[in-house]
């Protein structure tokens, strides 16, 4: 039992790509407490809703996050559509689902690369990002943007995907799936990876539930919550099961994300097979009057968009609760009891996105 000392961790850290600051209270090398503080990248995007008209604000909403950008715009559009009782065409719903899953694929691959890089597993990092490039290419070819797609709009989507391109995407995904197997098998079965991750940062099922963990962090602890099952966009017509692991350590969270890659590919394949013909957008007139909460599953977990309008072009209130924000209390619990050397891995294992948590 040593003397307690406090070690600052972040916001600038060689392993951590995100500006979160943690005050780690240590006893010898063991973390006994962690005090998180955020506020380094606040941009005030929600306030901007008063200055921009609601159809244009979607581009601002998309820029809340640079990785799960598409799903933010999708959720915002869904909010407005629900308030204004707009029924979007079925093809648009399927297209939204396809792009949502593409963005999940690219986010998970990005995270897998960064996570491997955090452990010094450089070859997995390179390979994950090489595969991610195929996803980004498909995104750019279909939407016009690599990371910020800008393809969602209130009342549908802005771009349609030609049937030939859909077939091409299907073929691309088949190839990708083979390569992903090579990648994830190496990562998940590697002896040093297992040694490093198994038992590091354990979140018990009840802790995950009561602390409000979302997304892969919750699913890694055996809490089967997946907002996609509520059936927004075209998810209601798609057959899939959320990936759940029970052990609750860093390895489980990692495995959830690795296995979700295949779920995403499966969902896209189902969508491409089922997608109906038809228009991709409807004309929107008027302005939203009322309020709505929309939920969606982001790569990092559940996102909630709240919108209040008063019948004018500018909305009154926009509030976003991002997955990383809810995952910070579980993170503090995770850190208690782990070794100082494991802190970067444990923090990375919840896939933090502070840019989106602060907006």
């Amino acid at each position: 039992m040593g003397k307690q000392i406090t070690v600052p961790f972040g916001p600038q850290h060689p392993v951590l790509p995100e500006p979160i600051h943690l005050d780690l209270v240590l006893e010898d090398e063991t973390v006994v407490d962690a005090i998180p503080s955020i506020g380094y990248v606040h941009r005030g995007l929600e306030k901007l809703v008063e200055k921009r008209e609601y159809p244009e604000y979607i581009y601002v909403a998309e820029r809340i996050c640079g990785i799960c950008s598409y799903i933010h715009s999708n959720t915002y559009a869904e909010c407005i559509e629900q308030i204004m009782h707009i029924e979007i065409p079925e093809r648009a719903q399927y297209l939204r689902t396809i792009w949502s899953e593409y963005s999940r694929l690219h986010s998970h691959l990005l995270w897998l690369g960064l996570f491997a890089d955090g452990m010094g597993f450089e070859s997995v990092f390179m390979n994950a990002w090489r595969l991610r490039e195929h996803i980004l290419d498909d995104m750019e070819a279909t939407t016009g943007g690599r990371v910020i797609q800008g393809v969602c709009k209130v009342g549908g989507v802005r771009k349609d995907i030609a049937p030939e391109k859909l077939d091409e995407m299907l073929k691309g995904l088949k190839n990708l799936e083979h390569e992903l197997h090579d990648l994830t098998d190496v990562f998940l079965n590697d002896a040093s990876v297992i040694h490093r991750l198994k038992g590091a940062g354990v979140l018990k099922t009840e802790d995950a539930y009561y602390l409000g963990a979302v997304g892969p962090t919750a699913r890694g602890s055996g809490v089967p919550i997946d907002i996609r099952q509520t059936g927004y966009a075209a998810y209601g017509k798609i057959n899939f099961k959320p990936v759940v692991e029970s052990s609750g350590d860093s390895y489980a969270r990692c495995a959830v994300r690795a296995k979700e890659l295949y779920t995403s590919i499966d969902i896209i394949e189902q969508c491409i097979k089922k997608i109906p013909e038809g228009p991709v957008d409807v004309k929107v007139t008027g302005a939203p009057d009322g309020e709505f909460f929309a939920r969606a599953e982001q790569p990092r977990g559940e996102v909630v968009h709240y919108i209040k309008g008063n019948g004018k072009k500018n909305l009154v209130r926009h509030r976003v609760r991002t997955p990383t924000f809810t995952n910070i209390p579980p993170l503090v619990t995770l850190l208690k009891g782990c070794q100082l050397a494991d802190v970067p891995i444990v923090v990375l294992s919840i896939d933090p996105c502070i840019g989106c948590a602060e907006r």
């Binding site: 921009r52 581009y59 820029r63 290419d137 016009g144 090579d182 190496v186």
Partner: protein, 133 residues
């Protein structure tokens, strides 16, 4: 067996071309839909200011009197909503990303044709733009 699992990927990588492009020796990838930067055909612009109103970043300034169209490339978020809303289709999206510039070099200003009106009175030019609203 956890040994040699990476061997397949290593062998494949050894005998394939690099995944990275040898930029600038090889040109960067370009897609037909890519949003690079906004371009304008000054002859077709009627200074209706729709693009200015629709711009979420307030990057476009249209001066109806001076007949100029101005964009701040650093403010522009390349969302293409101006391109969609343009009634005369004088705005278009070029798939090439804008070249890097110095701090205040992002402003691009052109003199445009202005509204097609028979009478040559310059002060009357503002009227049709407001009527369009």
């Amino acid at each position: 067996m956890t040994y040699f699992q990476n061997a397949k990927t290593i062998v494949k990588s050894l005998f394939s071309r690099p995944s990275t492009l040898m930029y600038p020796a090889k040109p960067a990838k370009k897609m037909a839909l890519s949003r690079g930067h906004v371009i304008i055909d000054p002859a077709k612009c009627i200074t209706c200011r729709s693009c200015q109103r629709k711009c979420p970043a307030q990057a476009i300034v249209v001066d109806v009197k001076e007949k100029t169209w101005e964009i701040d490339r650093f403010r522009c978020i390349i969302c293409a909503s101006c391109v969609e809303v343009c009634p005369t289709k004088c705005l278009a999206m070029d798939p090439q990303y804008p070249e890097s510039t110095t701090a205040r070099g992002g402003i691009y200003k052109v003199t445009v044709a202005g509204p097609k009106k028979k009478e040559p009175a310059p002060d009357a030019a503002a009227k049709p733009a407001e009527m369009k609203e």
